[in-house]
């Protein structure tokens, strides 16, 4: 894994799921115009999932870039495909964060940037969104302790 992405030509692993701003990336959800509920990933069925809302109009909305660490773990073994595979010996465990976004009132999972292990994480600390590369070079969103140098 490699989080040095500024200025490179890396492509996101999914189009339209997050902005590619190397400094201040944002996840892209959508929001029900009727009730304000935010969806990430974007709701595509066209029908709001709030049982008290019949909303059928949604607009794209970027999500908050930071939130409180709700919990965390790591992948001690290389996950199976479609996770991009590397040579067994080259695999480095990486941390995974569940971050609670205050404004959206939701928890979003993601890998943690390389170089930050579980021993550096603590429930409640502030995390912010970064970009990082998967083993095949495709970009994904990642969480990092706020203020850390990515």
């Amino acid at each position: 894994m490699n989080d040095t992405v500024a200025g490179c030509n890396a492509q996101p692993f999914l189009e339209g799921w997050f902005t590619l701003d190397a400094e201040r990336p944002q996840l892209l959800g959508n929001r029900c115009v009727a009730c304000g509920t935010v969806y990430f990933p974007k709701l595509k069925s066209g029908y709001c999932r709030n049982p008290d809302c019949d909303g059928e109009r949604f607009e794209e909305t970027p999500l908050s870039r930071s939130g409180a660490l709700w919990s965390y773990s790591n992948a001690a073994y290389q996950p199976p495909e479609p996770y991009a595979q590397v040579d067994k010996d080259a695999f480095r465990p990486f941390a995974i964060a569940a971050v609670e976004l205050d404004k959206e009132k939701m928890i979003v999972l993601g890998a943690v940037v390389a170089g930050v292990g579980v021993e550096q994480l603590k429930v409640g600390m502030t995390m912010e969104l970064k970009l990082g590369a998967l083993a095949d070079g495709k970009l994904t969103w990642m969480w990092a302790p706020a203020g850390a140098q990515a």
Partner: protein
């Protein structure tokens, strides 16, 4: 609530859990015949076959009800096949219960059986960005990640420790030692659990359950039928809860990468809702429960379930564990069968295996793992995509 909401459990049968590698139909027929024999009910008396589907065994698995109706011999019974991930067995039981309470049939066979592939479950090949299961694996989030997130959260919120999680494993391994249907029958020491490799911090390999082959079957009936064949005192199913979550669902659940947004509606706990509905249906409270079988996909998850079942206050589960109250002989034994720790999960059979265990416990037939004077048992489990269940059995 009146006893007319109950149905009788006349027979329970299982095929031992393992990694046998044979066709799931074979296991199921063994379990069904064992349940019929245990019940003393002839196959032709069964008017409804309620199957729990398996989705990894081709078309016969997707029509499990019909598959077993045919394997046991087509005799014109009505049929249903339910699928609800880990709760499939309970949905099949709920279908049978409703059919009986509706007066549509007197005796039903409920059955689930599985042959599971080796290794971790993984998604189908191909790029599928609209499938949350594909997305989460693509960024490296496997099943144990979710269990690990819940475990770490407990450590942060309630002060649970790795030693507590290991103690769940040690307890369940001890419970399952003599269970002839369990796959793993080996005692563990806490330091062996601690020494097993980390899979998803803070969980070790010994904290996480495997996948198994296995089958479980129940013969259930109306109380009138049970009386007629001299089994008026058979254990009864008093409730089967299969509620869905309430929006906004508060906990990030497999295979999602985010929770519902609670902007427009309050965040709510799905796991806690499952037994709540069961208690309401049964007219029984947590204080009445003598024994619980809960889905210990991980050791730490058993502690979450104890609180969701209201067997103790939120955050207090580890205290009960440490005091030995969840061991056989304690105040409220949890997983006397040995649980998933000793069985490994056979998806469509597992929720029924829980009810089989409660049946034997309530009959006093559990041998070395008998919970003294068990009167009320409860199960709990949860699967993917808003599926879960809780069943109450009483005598």
């Amino acid at each position: 609530m009146s006893t007319t909401r109950d149905i009788a459990i006349l027979g329970a049968g299982m095929h031992p859990w393992g990694k046998w590698g044979r066709n799931f139909v074979e296991y199921g027929v063994v379990a069904a015949r064992a349940a019929l024999a245990d019940a003393g009910v002839p196959w032709r008396d069964v008017q409804f076959v309620s199957g729990a589907a398996t989705i990894r065994n081709g078309y016969p698995g997707q029509v499990a009800g019909a598959t077993f109706a045919q394997a046991l011999g087509w005799q014109g019974a009505q049929v249903n096949t339910s699928y609800a991930a880990c709760a499939s067995g309970s949905q099949a039981l709920a279908a049978a219960r409703a059919k009986i309470l509706a007066g549509e049939c007197e005796v039903a066979l409920v059955i689930g059986s599985d042959t599971t592939p080796k290794g971790f479950l993984k998604p189908q090949p191909g790029d599928r960005p609209d499938d949350p299961d594909w997305v989460r694996f693509r960024i490296g989030i496997t099943n144990p990640t979710y269990f690990a997130l819940y475990a770490r959260r407990r450590m942060a919120m309630y002060g649970d420790t790795l030693a507590d999680f290991a103690a769940v494993k040690v307890k369940n391994a001890e419970h399952g030692l003599s269970n002839p249907n369990a796959r793993y029958r080996k005692a563990f020491k806490a330091d062996e659990v601690a020494a097993s490799p980390i899979v998803a911090d803070p969980l070790r390999l010994m904290d996480i359950c495997a996948t198994s082959d296995g089958a479980a079957a129940l013969i259930v009936s109306s109380l009138a039928y049970a009386s007629r064949i001299g089994k008026a005192n058979a254990p009864r199913v008093a409730a089967v809860s299969t509620v869905t979550p309430s929006f906004a669902s508060a906990l990030v659940e497999m295979p999602d990468i985010a929770t519902d947004s609670a902007i427009a509606a309050p965040a709510q706990s799905f796991r806690a809702a499952l037994p709540r509905k069961a208690y309401e249906q049964a007219g029984i409270g947590p204080e009445d429960v003598s024994v619980a079988e809960v889905y210990d996909l991980s050791t730490a998850l058993e502690l979450d379930w104890m609180e969701d079942l209201q067997l103790c206050a939120r955050g207090e589960a580890a205290h009960l564990l440490r005091a030995g109250e969840t061991r056989i002989g304690g105040r409220i034994p949890v997983n006397p069968s040995g649980g998933l720790a000793c069985f490994g999960e056979a998806v469509p059979a597992q929720a029924l295996a829980q009810v089989c265990e409660l049946t034997w416990q309530l009959r006093g037939q559990a041998g070395a793992r008998q919970v003294a004077d068990a009167k009320v048992g409860i199960t709990a489990n949860q699967g993917l995509f808003g599926h879960g269940s809780s069943v109450i059995v009483k005598r």
